[in-house]
Symmetry: C2
Subunit: 196 residues, 2 copies
């Protein structure tokens, strides 16, 4: 579980990764400069290149992996709280919506913006993003299989669960409204229940 120590008690490397993840979540890859990262992480530019000699590209990959672990933990927690996968989906969308609103509609998916900016142009970053999506789909698929759904049904539902969460969160962020996520939760529950 995340220890959630205050940022100034973390090691320099971890502080840089978390700051990069948050900045790329809010601004994307291209708009986030190494200078801003070093300033907000309270590290020097020399330290950034000391820990990440591959520069901005290597840093983006680590940031995406951090976001991957973060959202995976969010999914695991939701699945642990709710035995029923359909009910867990409704809870997920509710929590995503309130988190988004509480951040001033700034903190969307920590992976998607960078993934889209990198598609077709930064293969290593794109691959890290694809691994994140694949990890999240696996968590959903396993939850559905534990609940008795057939393997092929669970496989397809896992795709649609993650993809609709992505699309609804993006839509909620741009519209500054919780409605798209609330609706997505109800529709996901209905779709899952239709396979029982």
């Amino acid at each position: 579980m995340g220890t959630m120590r205050p940022q100034h008690e973390l090691g320099t490397r971890e502080r840089i990764v978390r700051t990069t993840s948050r900045l790329m979540q809010q601004q994307g890859y291209e708009a986030t400069g190494l200078k801003q990262i070093s300033q907000e992480a309270k590290a020097t530019l020399g330290s950034v290149y000391h820990f990440f000699p591959g520069g901005k590209r290597e840093l983006a990959i680590e940031a995406i992996r951090h976001g991957d672990r973060e959202f995976a933990e969010f999914l695991r927690a939701a699945f642990d709280r709710d035995d029923d996968p359909a009910a867990a989906m409704v809870a997920c969308t509710r929590d995503l919506a309130s988190g988004l609103r509480e951040s001033g509609w700034l903190d969307g998916c920590p992976v998607t913006t960078t993934a889209l900016e990198s598609a077709g142009r930064e293969p290593a970053i794109q691959q890290a993003a694809e691994e994140a999506y694949e990890n999240w789909r696996t968590l959903v698929r396993e939850k559905l299989e534990r609940s008795g759904f057939a393997a092929d049904v669970a496989h397809d539902l896992a795709h649609t669960v993650i993809n609709l969460l992505e699309g609804a969160e993006l839509s909620a962020q741009v519209a500054r409204s919780e409605a798209p996520l609330e609706i997505a939760g109800r529709h996901l529950a209905r779709l899952i229940d239709s396979y029982r």
Copy 2:
């Protein structure tokens, strides 16, 4: 309908807008420079600022509106071909998937990358993106209402249709696979049919 004249027969202004739309679709807002736009549009930098004195921001808004009209036309055509909205959704996802593959997985949604990069930082661009999503939802909602669905059901389904198309296209682009869109088409048809 789109006249699809070759680009060199278009006026300078239209050539700049279409080039910007394509470049921001593939690379996003931040990675697309005015120099690259002017070169690929076969216009000079002076012409770009002549037609768009607001600079890059104004150009991005026009590019998003162009993508808005483009995808709206795609949806209208699909709805005209298929009387049944569920069948139209399957056709939509199939066409989106093949178009994405044929572009070498480069041409995703012409609005989304720029929308995410601008969220919370470029209000005018974000608003143009929200207007595009709203237009697309309206087209879906009206199609469903014409097919006999109740207003509130059609309203919610329109959100989920657009949001799942967005999420599945993004997922297909990052994974370089048609599967997410194919699955999305089947699930959207099933969800729509569940309200009959």
